[in-house]
């Protein structure tokens, strides 16, 4: 008996040894920053010095038009772009799944490929393609589709559209792959049975495919939501520092600019990052609950 307990203690110690390096790095680069942020969030920076202002940083947000615009933009991107992208990814996955077998591999590969490019490269490519004298406007002008160049990067509304186009290009194929895996796990007999009952393709899509894929759709929605809350590379590079006139300013970009670009106000930037965590956390929680209810059924 004595030897078993010593052996167990030995195994337990080895278990700690295994996780120790990861825990040390976690403490240094995750736990410590989180703890420090609790201090920063109550401070106001002026030059090199900072003073205690309690919840003053949160009060400041109520009067900060750019902050509100940034938060609003994050929501606009989320509410418009994510449903469009998920819908497109779903359609493409269904078409690929029922299409010609020989074409499936190459087509899937082609549509997935944007997901291997870095967001910086995506932002650069789209910024060059969408210049007012750039390629897309040239094509549209010479084909007679438009008379004046479209301000893809200079018009406040079109700039938002541009960001959404770039994100959709980058992520649709990525989400499609998830849906494809889900589709392949659906038993074909379910479709065959519903065909015997005379169900149309559309009806099958709505009553079989979508409900069975719901967990994966929700998973996509969760990851996309958290990605959208963190939008940074695209508004910084593609539409140049959240322009025009902050039309594409996002929370992450505004936080970065407050902390590292404009006035080094680490306290205010930290307070805003708390808002991002809160919003992202709440949305994830709601979506997980939805997922949990689905699973429970």
């Amino acid at each position: 008996m004595q030897t078993t307990t010593t052996f167990h203690r030995y195994l337990n110690r080895f278990g700690w040894l295994c996780v120790a390096p990861a825990m040390a790095l976690f403490a240094a680069f995750m736990a410590y920053p989180i703890l420090m942020s609790l201090y920063y969030v109550t401070r106001r920076w002026k030059g090199m010095t900072n003073t205690f202002i309690g919840l003053g940083n949160f009060v400041r947000m109520a009067h900060d038009k750019v902050f509100q615009q940034a938060l609003g933009n994050n929501f606009i991107f989320m509410v418009i772009q994510i449903p469009i992208m998920i819908f497109l990814a779903l359609i493409l996955a269904v078409l690929l799944n029922q299409g010609i077998k020989r074409m499936r591999g190459p087509l899937r590969l082609a549509i997935f490929l944007p997901a291997v490019t870095s967001l910086v490269v995506v932002s650069i490519l789209f910024r060059v393609l969408l210049q007012s004298n750039g390629m897309l406007n040239n094509i549209l002008l010479s084909s007679g589709a438009i008379k004046e160049p479209i301000g893809w990067l200079t018009d406040p509304i079109m700039a938002k559209v541009t960001i959404m186009i770039a994100i959709t290009w980058r992520w649709t194929g990525y989400n499609m792959v998830f849906f494809l895996v889900g589709l392949q796990s659906i038993d074909p007999e379910i479709y065959e049975a519903s065909e015997v009952d005379g169900a149309s393709k559309m009806r099958q899509f709505l009553t079989i495919t979508i409900p069975l894929l719901m967990p994966i759709i929700l998973f996509s929605a969760i990851t996309s939501t958290s990605g959208t809350m963190q939008l940074f590379d695209e508004p910084n590079i593609l539409t140049v520092q959240g322009g025009p006139f902050n039309a594409t300013m996002t929370m992450a970009l505004y936080i970065y600019r407050q902390a590292f670009y404009m006035n080094n106000d680490f306290g205010y930037a930290t307070a805003m990052s708390y808002v991002v965590v809160l919003v992202a956390g709440t949305l994830a929680y709601i979506q997980m609950r939805l997922l949990g209810e689905r699973r429970a059924k």
Partner: protein, 273 residues
């Protein structure tokens, strides 16, 4: 699905939609590659046939835009992150999975909770910490915080579940040490898991922008994404050379992806399982 097979207009239509999507997906790559051989004006206008400037664009990228330096910085940072990341996260995942204890499960739960925290919320205290440690503008500042990844530990733990515990116990009976079992028996049979984790770690670091933008200050330390981004803010943009840099930045990922498609997708899907 015999009904679909006979319904040929539907199939033709779906093929057209898919081909259209594939062309839209591939076009920017084509344009980027062709752009490496064009003068800046032709890149902008959207000339779609190769030009004659490839050599001069490449020479400019090498000479004026320090391509070899940025490439070396990027590859060095990414590979070191992968090497340390695999060692640290693999061992941690193994420890969490094969040495079950209530205390460690609680720790694991705390780790998972932090998955919800976006990077932007961590970079401010991290910046001040690295400034204090005098590690700003050093590549260590980029590598150190990226080694431990909760997502990778989670992903690898899921995969270690599939490794039979009986084999570990049998090896123990044969007198093998715990570390020996992990290094000589478990790790070699988990190559696919390690490959997926390596791809994920490599991609995240190779493409990283936000933290390097904050932590790397001098030109000589920059990575490829930083170099490309600063080319975009120059007064005159050398589009041809920019496309060379973009190609060089996408190429390793593309090669990695095409040669290891299965592990690549497994890495992405790891979280769904």
């Amino acid at each position: 699905m015999s009904v679909v097979r006979s319904w040929s207009t539907g199939r033709a239509l779906s093929l057209i939609v898919l081909l259209f999507a594939a062309i839209l997906s591939l076009f920017p790559f084509y344009w980027m590659i062709v752009g490496t051989s064009l003068n800046p004006n032709d890149v902008l206008k959207g000339v779609l046939l190769p030009g004659k400037e490839l050599v001069s664009n490449f020479a400019k990228a090498m000479k004026y835009y320090n391509l070899p330096l940025y490439f070396w910085n990027s590859i060095k940072i990414a590979l070191l992150t992968v090497a340390f990341g695999l060692a640290v996260n693999g061992l941690a995942a193994y420890g969490f999975e094969k040495y079950p204890s209530k205390a460690r499960d609680k720790v694991f739960g705390v780790l998972l909770l932090t998955l919800i925290i976006p990077q932007i919320a961590l970079v401010i205290p991290m910046f001040r910490m690295f400034a204090f440690l005098k590690l700003l503008d050093k590549h260590a500042a980029i590598i150190l915080p990226s080694i431990m990844s909760v997502f990778i530990i989670f992903f690898m733990r899921q995969n270690f579940k599939m490794f039979p515990t009986e084999i570990i116990e049998a090896a123990r009976v044969d007198g093998a040490g715990e570390m020996g079992i992990f290094v000589r028996i478990v790790t070699p049979s988990m190559k696919a898991t390690y490959a997926s984790a390596a791809i994920y770690l490599f991609l995240a670091q190779w493409n990283a922008y936000l933290w390097p933008l904050i932590a790397l200050l001098s030109d000589a330390k920059k990575t490829l994404p930083l170099a490309m981004a600063s080319m975009m803010s120059a007064y005159t943009i050398e589009y041809g050379s920019l496309m060379v840099l973009a190609c060089i930045s996408v190429l390793p990922v593309l090669v990695l992806f095409l040669s290891m498609q299965k592990q690549f997708v497994a890495g992405l899907l790891g979280s769904v399982k």
